[in-house]
């Protein structure tokens, strides 16, 4: 996949199915989609996440196919299929975000309870067993509890704060892809494509 000078997204395929389904890995092929064996659309989404397109107005998704794979209504059907796929994927990502949030909240709740128990125990120790202990020992216990608490709170906080970012970014790209115009054109030769950056 490449973004052509006018920001158009160019994807070279052997069949239209490769847009949504991974072909077998074939590093003997010159085509990007074959080399890694990934669905071309997901690869395009990842590329678009890495190299953002600022102005989506007029951006086209150009699919290059062997001439014998092209049919008169393929553009319209692909447009509908892409829109349907993006809608389903967006919904799926939304569910993933929701479930991940609930899981993180459960995890956060549990480690918070554990932290409170540990702090409570430390407090009891300070007022009983360690009541006459030197300040150094007290300092070490307090520091241990403090480090323990922030370390076990770290992961649930991180997943709660950051796990939604990736699917949300993917959804932003999918929402934009849903609206782009699709152009299907005959595939140029690999060498020609390389000279144009595709």
């Amino acid at each position: 996949m490449s973004t052509a000078p006018g920001n158009d997204i160019v994807i070279r395929l052997d069949t239209i199915e490769q847009l949504f389904n991974a072909p077998d890995i074939n590093p003997f092929s010159d085509e990007e989609v074959d080399v890694l064996g990934e669905p071309a659309l997901l690869r395009a989404v990842r590329r678009l996440q890495a190299h953002r397109i600022r102005h989506w107005e007029g951006v086209k998704l150009i699919l290059e196919l062997p001439p014998d794979q092209m049919t008169p209504d393929l553009e319209t059907r692909t447009q509908e299929a892409l829109s349907r796929y993006c809608a389903a994927k967006i919904e799926d990502n939304r569910l993933q975000i929701r479930l991940s949030r609930v899981r993180s909240l459960i995890g956060l709740g549990m480690v918070t309870v554990i932290s409170i128990v540990v702090i409570g125990l430390a407090y009891l120790l300070f007022n009983s067993l360690f009541a006459g202990a030197p300040d150094t020992v007290k300092g070490i216990v307090a520091a241990s509890v403090s480090v323990f608490v922030w370390v076990i709170l770290w992961d649930p906080m991180e997943s709660l704060l950051f796990n939604w970012v990736e699917p949300r970014l993917e959804n932003n790209i999918l929402r934009k892809l849903q609206r782009v115009d699709i152009v299907i054109r005959p595939k140029s030769s690999s060498n020609e494509a390389r000279s144009h950056g595709a």
Binding site: E17, F20, N21, P39, R77, T78, E80, A81, L82, R84, Y85, A88, K89, D92, L95, R98, L99, V102, R103, I106, G107, M110, V111, I114, T136, V137, I140, A143, S144, V147, F148, V151, I152, W154, D155, P156
Partner: protein, 195 residues
């Protein structure tokens, strides 16, 4: 609990209920769009508002009329119930394994923490008390960090790793008690409908 849910699933063949077909968004069937097994879609729909789950699910599987036989109408719901029962059992097993692994990890971490605390005690008392204060401080802080890092993964795993299995099983239990009917496809368009 949320009210009952009615789900209609259009399939090209009964296999698609259990096995994911290749993604084919040119079709309007829900299973084809992302290439997911029918029961996975149903499970996700049931989980949509977790921890609120639908009280019951009425699943209607629509198949081409030519594929529906009296045997299929009887066997498919039984196969689905069997699938749910095995999934629940498999998830329970995985959850147990996960918890056992987490507890083993916690035990290992406990041993490591004991060693670190022993080192701290040695640094504070006679055997290593002769070391310069700066070095003792650094070693104590390192031992404290070791304790925290050792306990971190184990505690997190005990507290959290079982959750996805419980979530899935909650949905499967509702689905296990669900009513499944097989009907001939009515329209070519509606892939999945939720009431």
């Amino acid at each position: 609990m949320a009210p009952e849910a009615a789900i209609t699933l259009q399939l090209n063949s009964i296999d698609e209920l259990f096995t994911a077909p290749a993604a084919n968004p040119f079709s309007s069937h829900a299973v084809d769009i992302l290439g997911e097994a029918g029961l996975d879609i149903v499970q996700k729909r049931a989980l949509q508002r977790w921890p609120r789950l639908p009280r019951a699910v009425h699943l209607t599987v629509e198949l081409p009329a030519s594929q529906i036989t009296p045997d299929l109408a009887r066997d498919a719901p039984a196969a689905a119930q069997r699938y749910f029962a095995h999934k629940i059992e498999d998830n329970r097993l995985q959850r147990q394994l996960t918890i056992r692994r987490s507890l083993r990890q916690l035990l290992g971490a406990g041993v490591g923490i004991l060693l670190a605390l022993t080192l701290i005690a040695l640094l504070l008392t006679a055997p290593l008390g002769w070391l310069p204060d700066f070095l003792r401080g650094v070693l104590i802080v390192l031992a404290l960090y070791a304790c925290s890092v050792l306990s971190f993964d184990a505690v997190w795993s005990v507290a959290f790793d079982w959750v996805p299995y419980v979530q899935e099983n909650a949905a499967y239990r509702v689905l296990e008690a669900s009513e499944i009917t097989i009907e001939p496809t009515t329209t070519a368009e509606a892939g999945i409908a939720l009431d």
